[in-house]
Amino acid sequence: MAVSSVSSIDIASPANRARLLWALWILAAIIGGLGFIERLFYGEQAADFSSYIPWGLWVAAYIYFSGLSAGAFLIAAAAYVFRIRVLEPIFRPALLLAAVTLLMGLLLIGVDLGHLERAYLVIFRPQFHSMMAWMVWLYTAYLILVVAMLWLSFRSDQPGRESEAVSNDQARLRLLAIIGVPLAIAFAGGVGALFATLAAREFWNSSLFPIFFLVGALTSGTGLVTAVVGWLWPSRDAGWKDLMTLLGRLLLVFIVIDLILEWAEFSTPSWYQIGSFYELTHYVLFGPYWYVFWLVHLLLGVIVPIVLLVKTRNPVVTGVAGALVAITFFAVRLNLVIPGLITPELRGLERAYSDPIGNRLTFAYFPSWFEWQVLLGAIAFGVALWYVAIRLLPQVFPSPARSSEVGQ
């Protein structure tokens, strides 16, 4: 429990803090559960997305969580495939994080569908042209792979398992990790391609988009793994410090690459301040939600983490930087989805015909309470999943004895 003495302000004892976290979780679960019940019986009527802005908070949250998942997975798989010994202890927690965040994303994209009960048709009536169909197949394959890898990984660790069987398991695990790397890259990039392939949407229709999504996945996923390793690692020894230093360096590299790509993505099509892309960039930077870009993303998600990571190698500070990157990356995802939809494709359409009942024919969007509620529910679901998993499978984190061998 060394982490509590370092990171908490010592006002609350660990027991009090646990109680507070429980209370927060129960609150989130109740609020979120009510949201899910409303979704089940009344559909999406209380949501603010509409016929003209058909995708909103949930779709942004889906690409956010699926990005976290792909990023966490790629780190875990890379450690295994390239035998990066220092990173090997994070294999299991990162894999578990990948599974949990993917399920959170799938839950949200599931409730976003108008007819969830027909989702199986994506398998039975496949449309090979559709990027959406590819995304579904890829994440299905990816989910199966992650679960198989988790199972193999835990099986190989069972006490009393023969060493031959263990090495067999590890060979299979390695093979799955090798398959998983291109799969996760295709999945993370494919989510970007889902948007980028739409010629009708200028804001999305860019070749950089899939790559931007992939690097975003790596950045946010590394941030999440860094935060979790910083917070929950059982032993605070030299091995852990080395691990945090390496994760911190990795995170710093990804933040900088992501920033360069972001610059290219925004500045190139709008440099001479002409065209509709310029208007959309202007909307993102100086529109009504300017603070999402400047304060949440650029300040808290880029500048502060860069300063923290450059100034110090303190593992706890590194963990905080990781958490900042992982959490604020949601702002990046929101700023990718929503601005692509906020301008009418035909000028004047916004005033042509209105919907006085549900306001479904406007180009203004702000997530309703109901949408936040469901998002909160998905987060509570993910936290519960994670908690149950680490309770049932205590060997998610290496035992202190094992982790201290690392880095020697």
Partner: protein
Amino acid sequence: MDRRSFLKISGLIGGTLGAADLLTIGDALANPAADRNASLPVLDRVKAEPGEDVLIRMQRELVRAMNKPLEKRRWGMVIDTRKCVGCHSCNVGCIMENKLPPGVVYRPVIDTEVGSYPNVGRRFLPRPCMQCDNPPCVPVCPVKATWKRLDGVVVIDYNVCIGCRYCITACPYQARTFDFGENWDNNAAHGNDGGLALQTCRKYEQEPSFEYGAIWHRGEGVIPKSPVGNARKCTFCVHRLEHRQLPMCVTTCLGRATLFGDLNDPTTLVSQQTVQNNAVSLKPELGTEPKTRYLL
């Protein structure tokens, strides 16, 4: 038999036939019975003459086209913006015909004001589905719930659509909208006539839509009754065409500004109008090849 008991009995019959209906819908979408009403005596005694109302001419052309097999027809629409007075009756007719709920619209009329006093003008642009020859909304659908029929009309199978709304984002004309399951009676009852408004809205809500030649009773719920939870779009009223009726918006247009007919037949009004010097399509640079054109 009074009306109420008739409705009850037909409801009963409809209920038992419901399952069979569902099976035939897919069939109706794929190949509507081309010669079901081949001998319908529409306009048999009205002879063509110079200067006749374009509606009469289009009606005659429609009957002629419907007597051809489906794959020989190619429906197109020409909207003469000079004749459009911005009365919105095409949109109103469309809403009534398809029993559209709030938030769903197939043919809004875009009304823009240009210039500054004293040189001001208003421009009207009715925007049905463009029925693109190269529709961007079709290949994006993950479950093949939408396609271009042999006669060129882009349709949606309400029984397959999963409601992902990808097609809505893919359409460069925003001609697709989503049915959120809303009804006109939510929030409608205000003021002195609130009761009457509520009653009227509820009656409207129970009216089925006959899109695609099927009977659709909408409904929200754990499993919503389609087309609730689906993308929806203009179909050129394919269900009316089957009965030798012009699309609703064509018949309600005050200024005869909306023309409709078979583009495969070189003698039709639309075939002659689409080659005019002032005929344009929206966003031609996207290569969508709209079959809805505008005369400027």
